[in-house]
Symmetry: C2
Subunit: 345 residues, 2 copies
């Protein structure tokens, strides 16, 4: 298939679609559920050592360019869905993938994306068990879009509160898993072919190992959220609004690498609103905070974990997020209208 391109017929259900399935998808995603080639996959919870309740999530990926320093659309789609399951306190188990391919896409590009998805799924121990491929006319896509959905087994101990904004309590510590802003800056640099002084790589990664370690250790995790679109600031504002509690963030507690800081200054971006793909915040009771940080730091993906703020007590409860600088002055953080950089995931 060297030099071959995606044709409309590759999405037509006929021989060419079956060829695509047999030559590209089945060998790459090799597993018994997919090999049955039925309309869906059978999920054997017992064989996976999983019990109900389950978590279920989906995300579409339209990032541009498809390949960027530190990742690509395929790896992003796997990590993104694995991370959303982890944010529900779930062990990621099974993923689906639905491709929308643009007519004329080099088959070689699809192969690279599929290989990357396979590698990322294998690293995370998840199986790509079911999928779909559609082809749209030239000019009606942008190379390829992919949508993943995932199912995982919720690993919260029976009796513990559900991991959701509604479980956040006054006085909870806010822990951030590492430095912020790398994914958005890496995408922007790749898209605009900016020659930054220091190269910035996306932080795109699977954050489920440290999350599952927190739960296994019995840390009373109240809420988790990955700081993707809209960055750290938007994520904290979302939780504050949904929990109807005020949150104070210490600006100096938020790690930003000099390369990201420099790029943001150059481009006029606020790093707190720049997207991440391997960073999350955890809300835990103050009593568990030190132990949680210690557990997170044992994992490379969250080695930079630290406390960045605190949920306010009693008064307020308006869902306001205040950023406190080193001089003690505070400013209220607000959601941006959109995203500083479109199509970053």
């Amino acid at each position: 298939m060297k030099d071959a391109k995606v044709l409309l017929a590759h999405g037509g259900g006929g021989r060419l679609m079956h060829e695509l399935l047999e030559r590209i998808f089945l060998p790459a995603f090799d597993n018994p559920a997919l090999a049955e080639r039925h309309d869906g996959a059978r999920l054997d919870l017992a064989a996976a050592g999983a019990t109900a309740p389950l978590a279920f999530t989906t995300d579409g990926y339209v990032v541009r360019p498809l390949f960027f320093p530190g990742g690509d659309i395929g790896r992003l789609a796997i990590h993104g869905t694995v991370n959303d399951l982890a944010m529900c306190g779930a062990r990621p188990l099974w993923l689906s993938t639905a491709f929308i391919l643009e007519e004329g896409l080099p088959i070689e590009t699809l192969e690279r994306v599929v290989a990357s998805m396979h590698a990322a799924a294998a690293e995370s121990g998840v199986a790509l068990v079911t999928g779909d491929t559609k082809v749209v006319d030239r000019g009606k896509g942008d190379g390829l879009y992919v949508t993943t959905a995932g199912v995982g087994a919720i690993a919260v101990r029976p009796g513990a509160p559900a991991i959701t904004p509604g479980s956040v309590r006054p006085g909870d510590a806010v822990i951030l898993s590492g430095d912020v802003g790398r994914h958005g800056i890496a995408i922007l640099a790749a898209r605009e072919e900016l020659a930054l002084e220091s190269a910035v790589e996306s932080d795109c990664a699977d954050v489920s190992p440290p999350v599952l370690a927190l739960l296994a250790a019995g840390v009373a995790v109240h809420c988790l959220r990955d700081c993707t679109r809209g960055g750290l600031a938007t994520t904290v504002i979302e939780i504050a609004q949904q929990a109807r509690l005020d949150i104070a963030i210490e600006e100096d507690g938020v790690p930003i690498t000099p390369a990201v800081q420099g790029a943001c200054e150059l481009l006029g971006l606020d790093p707190l609103y720049v997207a991440n793909e391997g960073r999350f915040i955890a809300f835990v009771p103050e009593a568990d905070a030190e132990r949680a940080i210690e557990i997170l730091r044992r994992h490379p993906v969250s080695a930079g974990a630290d406390r960045i703020g605190r949920v306010g007590e009693g008064r307020g409860r308006s869902g306001q997020v205040t950023l406190r600088g080193s001089l003690g002055a505070g400013r209220v953080l607000d959601m941006l209208s959109g995203e500083q950089l479109p199509r970053i995931c």
Copy 2:
């Protein structure tokens, strides 16, 4: 939001995306899982009266035009995923939806699609529990694409064979649930603004009720498949090849309405390869065939069910499908290279 259009910022994770969520998605898909607004939904199997094993499936929808006689992309996306779960012998329970919107899409169009999805989901008794929205630049989409994934509870009795091509046995009866070719012709007529002599409506429908009735009655269903892309012929060929068994289909047994037959003759299409969205084939042991047909006919969506063929005994096993005409002459059916009509689902 009258006359409003989708902006890139609607996909940016900020205030506009939250507005879209609050004004359009949450009210339409109102349910507790979605209302939590977390990164994924918690699936409570016990509350749904569901037990493992589960089925999991996904499909992307890129149909053009978005609205057509008998349905629209939203209804198609719900029915399609519900039907794929039914084809696994599963009771459909939970669905996810991931939108890819093109910048400039009228918000009113999105609202119509979302309302249609909600109505279809309510009719099928499934909950839209988690979702995602991305926006791509003008010219990099075609209005909207939507990808649904679904989870259902497999309703096959313990000890019964799995519903999969590998369970098909020599001598099995092949039952078709109704007339074929309507969806593809309805789409083509809408797209090309063809004035057909008789209007043709898509057969787009939820086929899970008759399938679940077969299983509840203890019919030993060996395999099920909906005759979507590639039509009835491709579906039968897929099963024959995957089961490595020959299948003979009686041409006169396949119902085709005069309107579809006429349109196909006019357009030079073979109705056996034209897509359906509410038709399926069932493979059952000969001993169960009459009872299965009787059960299917009790449901409006499969009122036209009848036997159309038989899986060959012993010899052959090459995975060949033969179409036998009224004069006794047979021709071997082969997969088309693609689909006669692109982007029908």
